[in-house]
């Protein structure tokens, strides 16, 4: 990292050379643990001084090697992750923890584990529904993860260390929310592309360093004069993972600011906090099973209720996005999905109904996970912006 670079400049540096800090820390003797999705409880790793490092795909790298393990009509993000793994781009990892966020992810990481040797791997099962028994089962899963992490490191996760780790990660969540609040003014004080850069940086460095970075970014952004321009549209993007700023810039262009997001590479992991319960595993169970809201978990308005009240159901599942739309003064929603994502694909018609019920203009864009897919995406986004017209 360049000496002295701070705030947004530092976030950009980390974004552009993600693994650099992890490799430095590894050289100092720290162990780096990869994780592909937001269902992995980073708090436990932090409590053991492990460095969690998010595994992303790369839409700029053509997928060639992954064909050995995964079929082509398959979540392209996971295919790309495996491809990079097989090309040695994640060789510095000491291990990884994956979660059953969806079937493609489970399959991809099992193939990964069978083709790439790591000293440590753990797979966390996450129930797909919230019903009697889910909670206890998932707490058991967290207990099992704790054990394998402890035996890998030869250390015990003490209550004190776990509490400190949860506090550090909660602080990160609060700081990210504070950063997102800076997108409420018109024009927003920070662009969608810059925000993505920050989030991706956070998932590449230890939590304390991330929190320091966030403090610097927030201070800088609050008083900057060179922020984004006012543009005709204020958009919210919903979908699976956005992980490349070119993708965000394709949507923003000259006509739109992305002011809020709900996807796995954005606000989702920071929306709420882990409660500091007496048995800390209870708070973690509750957070990762109940409070995280990606579409992979089936939810009904009232637990156990089977009566169908579509409007109430939509409100209970997506009400928080309605709050985003109001709070961030959004005038258009783009639902964007990288192809072959079943969890989000199944959710999309329902969430569209929800946006329609709010009367908020929306469009659905499905695309490939490649740089070349961005130009045609531009036409669709522009077409949508022409349909909604400038913000009143």
């Amino acid at each position: 990292m360049t000496q002295g670079s701070k705030g947004l400049a530092k976030a950009k540096e980390v974004y552009e050379d993600r693994s650099r800090r992890a490799k430095e820390l590894k050289a100092e003797g720290r162990k780096i643990i990869g994780y592909p999705c937001i269902y992995v409880p980073l708090e436990m790793m932090t409590a053991l001084d492990l460095v969690p490092y998010r595994i992303y795909g790369d839409m700029r790298e053509p997928i060639t090697e992954a064909d050995r393990g995964l079929q082509t009509a398959f979540c392209a993000i996971m295919r790309s992750c495996l491809d990079l793994g097989l090309k040695g781009k994640y060789d510095f990892l000491d291990g990884f923890v994956a979660a059953h966020s969806c079937d493609p992810q489970e399959k991809a990481v099992r193939v990964w584990a069978s083709l790439i040797e790591h000293p440590y791997t753990h797979f966390l099962d996450v129930p797909g529904t919230l019903q009697a028994g889910s909670w206890e089962y998932f707490k058991g899963q967290l207990t099992a993860l704790k054990k394998t992490l402890e035996s890998f490191t030869g250390k015990i996760i003490t209550q004190t260390r776990l509490r400190e780790a949860i506090e550090a990660h909660n602080l990160q969540r609060a700081l990210v929310r504070e950063l997102y609040d800076l997108r409420k003014p018109d024009p927003p004080l920070i662009s969608g592309a810059e925000t993505l850069q920050v989030i991706k940086a956070l998932t590449s460095i230890p939590v304390e360093e991330g929190n320091e970075l966030l403090r610097q970014v927030i201070t800088e952004v609050k008083k900057r004069k060179n922020g984004p321009q006012k543009k005709p549209a204020r958009l919210l993007v919903w979908g699976n993972t956005m992980d490349d700023i070119a993708h965000v810039e394709t949507i923003e262009g000259d006509e739109a600011n992305i002011v809020m997001d709900d996807h796995c590479g954005g606000s989702r992991a920071y929306r709420t906090d882990v409660e500091l319960t007496e048995d800390l595993l209870d708070g973690l169970t509750d957070y990762y099973l109940v409070k995280l809201i990606p579409p992979r978990t089936f939810r009904v308005a009232v637990l156990g209720e089977t009566k169908k009240d579509w409007a109430a159901d939509l409100e209970s599942r997506f009400g928080y996005i309605g709050e985003y739309i109001k709070g961030w003064d959004v005038n258009g929603v783009i639902m964007q999905l990288v192809r072959y994502c079943d969890p989000h694909g199944f959710e999309q018609p329902a969430i569209k109904d929800y946006f329609d019920s709010l009367g908020i203009p929306n469009t659905y864009l499905e695309h490939d996970y490649s740089e070349g897919a961005l130009a045609p995406l531009r036409t669709r986004v522009q077409g949508f912006l022409e349909v909604i017209g400038p913000k009143a």
């Binding site: 469009t363 897919a373 045609p376 036409t379 669709r380 522009q382 077409g383 022409e386 349909v387």
Partner: protein, 280 residues
């Protein structure tokens, strides 16, 4: 006053010059090709000659289509989605669904009161576009323009199970070797194409009137198959390739009239009829 709509599609370039009353003074349709993409200025020059006009007499130029960014002399770029919707609605004011099947893409537009409400687009896979028919006409040794007429002779269309261009090609070869009648195979291909596009457009909840545009709309066999797949009568404009360019010219005219009515200067670029330079 005069307005130009320049629609640079992936396969064809279309230009319409329109006067203040909405009459079309000239129209040009020619292949886009790598050279033409650079030379949109030359195509416009031809259109101007046809209309007996000079570039200075054109009050507003709107560029649209896949290559809209390659028109340095355009005052504004508007997507083909909006331009097609406007163009189709000017020809068929009661249109609610427009389907445009071009050389390398297909789109469905939902329109109400002349305005675009929603759209779907396939710009990825050749199946469901004109390219599908081009490849298969070639496989069958037929001229693209003859496919429509031939298919009308069919009494029993051959089901083509795959809508992937490459697999359809293999399937067609297998059917030929089985000795099935050519017209039935061609009718089967039209049905495969129309079915694929219809399924995409159904996402918009198709309502009549339905208008079909783009080069493929010239194929009577596809129009018929589209009708069978959607269950609605299909309207086709006399010049189905031109709707985007017509829409672009109309939008240019509307932008100009609005600015004049509001008494604000027309936002226009300092422009010259020049070729795009990024290839150099």
């Amino acid at each position: 006053m005069y307005f130009a709509g320049v629609d640079i599609g992936s396969t064809m370039t279309k230009i319409v010059v329109m006067d203040g009353a909405g009459n079309i003074c000239s129209r040009i349709v020619g292949p886009t090709g790598p050279e033409h993409r650079r030379l949109a200025n030359e195509v416009l020059t031809q259109a101007l000659e046809q209309a007996n006009l000079s570039f200075g007499q054109i009050d507003y130029v709107v560029a649209t289509g896949y290559g809209r960014v390659n028109v340095p002399f355009a005052d504004r770029q508007i997507t083909e989605l909006t331009c097609h919707a406007r163009g189709v609605a000017s020809l068929f004011p009661t249109v609610r669904t427009a389907i445009d099947i071009g050389g390398q893409d297909a789109k469905g537009l939902k329109i109400k009161d002349g305005k675009l409400l929603d759209f779907v687009m396939n710009d990825k896979c050749a199946a469901g576009t004109g390219r599908f028919l081009e490849v298969l006409a070639d496989t069958l040794g037929l001229e693209l323009d003859d496919l429509g007429g031939i298919s009308l002779e069919s009494t029993k269309k051959v089901p083509i199970s795959s809508t992937c261009t490459i697999f359809a090609q293999q399937e067609v070869i297998a059917r030929i070797s089985e000795g099935l009648p050519l017209e039935d195979i061609v009718a089967g291909l039209h049905n495969a194409l129309a079915g694929r596009v219809a399924r995409m457009v159904q996402r918009l909840r198709v309502e009549p009137d339905v208008v079909l545009t783009g080069g493929v709309a010239k194929n009577i066999g596809v129009v018929k198959a589209m009708k069978e797949n959607l269950g609605y009568k299909i309207l086709v404009p006399p010049d189905p390739l031109l709707t985007g360019a017509i829409g672009a010219a109309i939008l240019g005219k509307e932008i100009t009239s609005k600015a004049m009515a509001e008494g604000v200067p027309i936002e226009r670029k300092e422009r010259h009829l020049e070729e795009v330079t990024f290839f150099k």
